[in-house]
Amino acid sequence: MTGRTPEQRWLAWQSVDSGRLMLFGVASALVVVGLAGTAPHVRYPDIAIAFGLFIAFGELLRLSLPGGREGAPIAMTAAFAYAMAVKVAHDDKVLYLHTPILQVIAVTAVGMSLGALPHIAAGRQAGLTAMSARLVSVACVATVFRTIVRAEPLAAHWVADLAVMAVMVALGWLIETLICAIIRADDLRARYVVTLSDELAVQWRLGLASGMSAIITVFGAEVMGIAELAVFAGPLLVIQFAFRRYASIRATYLQTVRALAQVTEVGGYVETGHSLRVTRLALAVGRELGMPETDLLDLEYAALMHDIGQLSLVEPIPGGATVLVPHADAHRIADLGAEVIRRTGLLDTVADLVRCQWLPYHGGHREPPLGSRIIRAANALDDLVVGSADRDRITAALARLRADTASEYDPEVIEALAVVADRLPVSRL
């Protein structure tokens, strides 16, 4: 995890695209303006330091979420709370905070950088993209909220306060999600609408929890004072723990499925790397066709295990190329594989995808699911080109598949496959 190869570094640099550059630009402009505007005169330095430390703590406890995402719910809670805190108990009296917008931005930026330092020291990624998105979102909330409050001081009734703050955290969350979705659509070469709905589906629970916690913190600051702020991280610690375990078991699960997929390779049933290559191709095609993330996960599992049925053969098929065996055998292999997967009890959709991978596109008694059609096409292409990046060979293979689109392959899938194959080598798929 620690050392990155030159190639990876090169790829990382390659991935700095226009969307990212713009985001970095906005974020650094915010940092510069915020620091310049705050440095001459810091209001309530002790409160600023307390919130800054809270944000740093949250950034330290970053969370990796399923799908290679990253979140910092505690940092967001602290930053939103600082943006919206109007009254703070201080030495037995209530302070009315008129924190300037620029100071909110500066404190957030400094806190985040402090919290990110240990990550960088440990050789992990700095996570600049996600941090920039968070900073922009906090800046927006601070700007809107402080403008409203200046025009119209918060009402005396807590219900009105609550409503205003709820709208604010929802706004902040939406902005962060939008930015992440744009970046992700770029990274994965997926459609923006799809990544946005994925992002909303994955993040809303965490967003809700951290937004609520921000509101709780604002209310609590009126009563408890600044030193006791840490208490409000309590509920989030529980959530953090739960999500961490969830993310880690999901990663482990994927590793186990990969191991299961490798079994056929070690057993000499299929070419080395076949399952992984088919999976990469299938995922890229799935994205190209705009499949949502949940379906992509099923597709990934199914593609990894699509050849598992061969285990029940006594003798391996020569070269493991299932595209070359008679249909009846291929069917039997797919059924046996689906049976192995079905025994895991929880992957019924995946088993179905594997079972249907040999159904012809037309002429069967039912149309196979999209995932199966994709696996079928990706498998056929890899069986024909065996991981080679030779353009001519790929073109020839695609031509052969196209010739069969009338009955065997889904033409739409084959076209998407052609687009994806055009981006070979596979490393950047």
Partner: protein, 490 residues
């Protein structure tokens, strides 16, 4: 499929054990001393509740009590995997909020509500015990809080004030100064009393004891402690927000709780799927030979027995069970015709079989959590005298995991029926193990295994009933009673 599901259930490799279940399964056969213990706790709780001064309660007290009791009930009635795993439940937040808002008796009364938990299939005795336990824990926490100088917030007008919207924080602010320490102490006491009482209950009950040993918080302990801290903090958050937003404080903390519950539910589901997938990996190995069905699982169980007997740390014990489960996964890399060959093997074929631990390693190396289990998979055919394979390690060079699996593997191989012979009796298999101790097996591990056998017994595999279309092996690589025959090179 039915039997498959049962089997998977039996392979509970990690500790999502439900401590409440201990009571569910065994309430019918509790010993008299356990009943006495329950009676004592219930009596203590009854005394606490009846000593409470009545009559002088204000309306505020009762409204606050009702809201907190409802919160407690919601938390108790919707157990999460997290809460079930070790009875740490978010309900402690309600009790601890009660400690601050309505005093120690109030906290005891909130805890007693556990009797009414709407969870199904909880026997009456267990309900009663839970209610009494939480009442005692709440009271103890309340006493600690008061003793250390924590001020009760039983103000009369908070509730009505919050509802009417008048800002109270002016005289409320600063009220919390100096109450953090007493509250922290109260939270610690609550956890200690709660766990102490529950632990004693489990220790008194023989079945409970076995279940408690199976439960392995292990590596997640720091995380669970963080959770405890978080739940306690929730109690303080409720108490702090009460003067500002009234009973709504209880509602607002439910949101994070339910998000956490969702994540824990997902975790539990993924974990089940993961275990099922590991089982599928093993079954894939076993399709190659009908007679080795269930072998991986039994070796896994045997390895777990040895680990418990030698007092291994719970997370390592779990890892050794995984290693036992996956130890023969490399057989997938050995051509089927070699595994099923009738008659002596050629040098090459024997070499292919000797390669299977390495193949196994190759397959599962990428699975991150296995770590030490990998050494067990790779070296389970090493011998103490150094004549094993693949590395020819001797004595202490062999990793502990591998020595454990070697014993469990050989024992199960002997005591299960094979196509070419009937199962060996347990006594004979034990004698065989003793004979091999020192040369093939680690004597300490053999002793531990025999001790565990005496204590826990061994489930013999019922003879496999072939379906008729299998090809049978005539020898087996891990069977010490009939070693593989290799063609002599002339």
């Amino acid at each position: 499929m039915e039997s498959d599901a049962d089997r998977l259930d039996g392979v509970t490799l990690s500790g999502v054990n439900d401590r409440h279940k201990v009571g569910e399964e065994n309430m019918g056969r509790l010993s008299w001393i356990t009943w006495l213990y329950i009676a004592a706790i219930v009596a203590a709780a009854a005394a606490i509740l009846s000593l409470a001064p009545t009559g002088s309660r204000s309306l505020d007290f009762w409204v606050t009590y009702a809201v907190l009791a409802l919160l407690f009930l919601i938390c108790e009635s919707t157990p999460t995997a997290l809460a079930r795993q070790s009875s740490w439940s978010p309900s402690s937040a309600a009790t601890l909020a009660a400690v601050v808002l309505i005093g120690s008796t109030g906290a005891a009364m909130v805890g007693a509500v556990a009797v009414l938990s709407v969870r199904r299939r909880v026997p009456a005795a267990e309900r009663l015990f839970n209610g009494a336990m939480y009442a005692v824990a709440g009271y103890a926490a309340g006493l600690t809080y008061a003793t250390l100088g924590g001020r009760p917030m039983m103000a009369t007008s908070h509730l009505l004030g919050a509802l009417s919207g008048t800002a109270f924080h002016l005289h409320v602010s600063g009220m919390f100064a100096g109450m953090l320490e007493p509250f922290a102490a109260a939270a610690v006491v609550h956890v200690l009393v709660n766990h102490g009482l529950l632990w004693a209950m489990l220790m008194l009950d023989r079945h409970g004891r076995a279940a408690a040993q199976r439960t392995t918080p292990g590596s997640s302990l720091p995380g669970l402690l963080a959770c405890d801290l978080g739940f306690a903090a929730l109690g303080l958050v409720i108490a702090a927000l009460w003067p500002v937003i009234g009973p709504f404080a209880a509602a607002i903390v439910l949101v994070p709780l339910f998000v956490a519950r969702w994540a824990m539910g997902q975790f539990a589901e993924q974990q089940r799927a993961h275990q099922a997938t590991l089982a599928a990996l093993c079954q894939a190995v076993e399709t190659k030979d009908y007679y080795t069905r269930g072998h991986s699982e039994r070796v896994s169980r045997g390895a777990g027995m040895i680990a418990r007997q030698i007092g291994m740390r719970s997370d390592r014990a779990e890892a050794v069970r995984f290693a036992g489960m996956l130890h023969d996964v490399g057989k997938l890399g050995v051509p089927t015709r070699v595994l099923q060959k009738d008659g002596p093997l050629t040098e090459e074929e024997f070499a292919a079989i000797q390669l299977h631990p390495m193949r196994g390693l190759e397959i599962v190396r990428e699975i991150g959590f296995l770590n030490e289990a990998l050494t067990g998979i790779m070296h389970h055919h090493e011998r103490m005298d150094g004549r094993g394979y693949p590395m020819g390690f001797a004595a202490d060079e062999i990793p502990e995991f591998a020595r454990i699996i070697a014993v469990a593997d050989a024992f199960d191989s002997m005591t299960s029926t094979r196509a070419y012979r009937k199962a060996v009796r347990i006594a004979d298999a034990v004698a065989e193990l003793r004979k091999g101790a020192g040369s093939q097996f680690d004597p300490k591990i053999v002793d531990a295994f025999i001790g565990a056998l005496d204590r826990e017994g061994w489930h013999m595999q019922e003879p496999a009933r072939p379906r008729g279309d299998e090809i049978f092996t005539s020898q087996d690589h891990d069977d010490p009673t009939s070693p593989l025959r290799v063609v002599e090179v002339v």
